[in-house]
């Protein structure tokens, strides 16, 4: 009896040891497989961001003075830059204008293209063209559309006798921001259309059948079934869109460069101009870190939101 229990416990410890060896081996192999990707991400993305966080507290070395710790001086100079408040304001106008427009246009097309009609597949392909086009091509297209003398918009306005309205849309501080916002909406609404279409496919058709039996018309079905059930997808996509849009400045870069008179200069554009047009690299570095903090806050907000609507999101993902 005693002998047996000893040999039993020996077997158990032996098994445990084997399991531990196995776990160690698994860990080793797993990290070998992960090594290239992890190293690339840490060295090329995380390291430069962290190193910039450190150097932003130092002055730039000159021939006579080596680099020295100056605390938050760089941050103060970016926050005290007279352009900074207007850049923040522009970022808000741009971000909310574009995201709001994208959601509205996105849901319009999603609802339309969810219906059955002849040629639906073609309409679905054509509608995401703006989203598929490279950002720079979109900017060029619209710069051409908005051009003062031969842009299509002004040509049409002149053609119908509204000559007085025709002007340089991107060259006027009154219209430049709304003009670039329209381009932002045009470029990105396809993302929402795709998201909402995918979301609508997960709504069980029985719900609509039941509603119809109860005598609900199309509008009631839309307001009572489709929109409420799309809410999780809508919230997630919108918060994600806010993060991307606030940092997206390809189109602004190519169409206005932040002008005229810095009226379309959002925060990323302001940082770029500070660093690369005015060569105030230290100030731009501080600005870049301010932007990083904003993005991290928005990300935290996103994670909070996505966790709250999580079960629904997972269902959507499984279904598509």
């Amino acid at each position: 009896m005693a002998q047996q229990s000893i040999s039993n416990s020996l077997i158990i410890t032996e098994r445990r040891r084997a399991a531990r060896r196995q776990a160690l081996r698994d860990n080793l192999i797993a990290y070998l497989f992960l090594a290239p990707a992890l190293l690339a991400i840490i060295l090329v993305l995380f390291y430069p961001i962290l190193s910039l966080l450190v150097t932003s507290f130092y002055s730039s070395p000159t021939l006579t003075h080596p680099s020295q710790f100056i605390g938050i001086k760089n941050y103060l100079s970016v926050l005290n830059d007279p352009i900074f408040p207007s850049a923040v304001k522009n970022t808000f106008i741009w971000t909310f204008g574009v995201t709001f427009g994208q959601v509205i246009v996105g849901i319009y097309f999603a609802l339309l293209l969810h219906q059955r009609f002849p040629g639906r597949w073609l309409a679905r392909v054509l509608v995401i063209i703006p989203w598929v086009l490279p950002g720079i091509v979109v900017a060029v297209t619209w710069r051409f559309m908005y051009s003062q003398d031969f842009g299509l918009i002004n040509l049409v306005l002149r053609g119908v006798g509204l000559d007085s309205l025709a002007h340089a849309w991107l060259g006027d501080t009154q219209t430049a921001m709304i003009a670039v916002i329209i381009v932002g909406i045009w470029k990105g609404f396809g993302f929402y259309t795709l998201m909402f279409l995918a979301g609508m496919q997960t709504i069980p058709t029985e719900l609509y059948e039941a509603a119809r039996i109860d005598g609900a018309n199309d509008r009631q079905q839309l307001v009572r079934i489709t929109l409420p059930l799309l809410r999780p997808v809508m919230i997630t996509a919108t918060v994600l869109g806010l993060i991307w849009t606030s940092n997206y400045f390809d189109a602004i870069f190519v169409m206005t460069g932040g002008g005229p008179a810095r009226s379309t200069e959002t925060l990323p554009m302001f940082i770029y101009n500070t660093g690369f047009s005015f060569y105030r690299i230290e100030e731009a570095m501080a600005g870049s870190n301010v932007l990083l903090v904003i993005v991290l806050i928005l990300l935290g907000f996103y994670l909070m939101v996505i966790r709250r609507v999580n079960p629904n999101i997972e269902r959507v993902q499984e279904a598509t």
Partner: protein, 292 residues
């Protein structure tokens, strides 16, 4: 029955609604195509303009259909100047980045899907988290780092950057495809004496091939289109990518519209083709948050 009855009585009072209901298909079709047409006017206008002669681009009233119809702008853009060189640069940079990214993420996704290891959650959030890094916050750190390393104006700096920045998209997509492989297949292979590496090479990768193709397509197109990092990390005119080359057609005071427009159409063609090929996976990509 009841529903039909209700609807009939409801519509009997409103002839317009009844007509709309009976022709629902046609009405929807017309509304949809008119809406879509309005949306794609700018793109259509760009394509039509690319076939006009330089003089006719600026003529009033504007021509809807180019007359004479000319390919001269395309010939000029592809023969004159450095544009062909930019195309080559972009093909090299996008191609190498895509291959590296696929290789790294195929391995990483394997570990993430099939291994239990300490720190899995942290690794996952590090990899997936980077997809939310907008390039706006990367420009200055990367500019500073590559300049300090003396690698400003090299293919290497751009390729390394793009590879790292695309890894999260690709890995995440591949984890989804790996998970879809039935466990029985893997178990059978393991019983037959297949090792971990053999399993990856002989079972997982062949079965996840559509995922690799879709991931590769998204990475290629993402890199092909990228502008901000390319314009920041490269200034040597011989090394410019197509998107930056396109931007250079916009001069300080004048814009070579005929060349700019033809070049815009040329650089969009690969994007459209690739998206057409992987159309089925676009929604997967969107849902995984990988596409912006």
């Amino acid at each position: 029955m009841t529903a039909v009855a209700i609807r009939r009585s409801h519509q009997g009072q409103r002839p317009l609604q009844e007509w709309l209901y009976r022709n629902r298909d046609k009405v929807l079709s017309v509304v949809a195509f008119v809406s879509v047409f309005i949306i794609i006017i700018p793109a259509l206008w760009l394509i039509l303009t690319s076939f006009k002669t330089t003089d006719n681009i600026f003529v009033f009233p504007p021509q809807a259909i180019p007359n004479p119809f000319t390919f001269q702008n395309y010939i000029d853009v592809l023969r004159v100047g450095d544009f062909p060189r930019y195309l080559l640069n972009s093909v090299i940079i996008s191609g190498v980045s895509t291959v590296l990214c696929l290789l790294f993420s195929a391995l990483a996704a394997y570990a993430l899907t099939y291994f239990k290891f300490t720190g899995r959650r942290i690794v996952l959030s590090v990899i997936v988290g980077t997809q939310f890094f907008p390039s706006a916050i990367l420009i200055l750190p990367l500019f500073k780092m590559w300049a300090n390393l003396g690698m400003f104006n090299t293919y290497t700096s751009l390729i390394a950057t793009y590879t790292a920045a695309s890894l999260s998209l690709c890995t995440w997509l591949l984890v989804g495809f790996y998970k879809a492989i039935p466990e029985e297949v893997l178990d059978a292979a393991t019983i037959d004496g297949c090792g971990k590496i053999g399993l990856l090479r002989q079972i997982v990768i062949p079965l996840a091939l559509p995922g690799l193709l879709a991931g590769g397509a998204f990475v290629f197109i993402g890199v092909w289109q990228e502008f901000l990092l390319a314009v920041t990390l490269i200034s040597d005119p011989k090394l410019l990518t197509v998107m930056v080359g396109l931007y250079h057609f916009i001069g300080e005071h004048t814009i070579a519209w005929n060349l700019l427009i033809a070049a815009s159409v040329v650089v969009s063609v690969p994007t459209i083709i690739v998206f057409g090929l992987v159309q089925r996976y676009i929604v997967d990509g969107v849902m995984s948050g990988a596409l912006k």
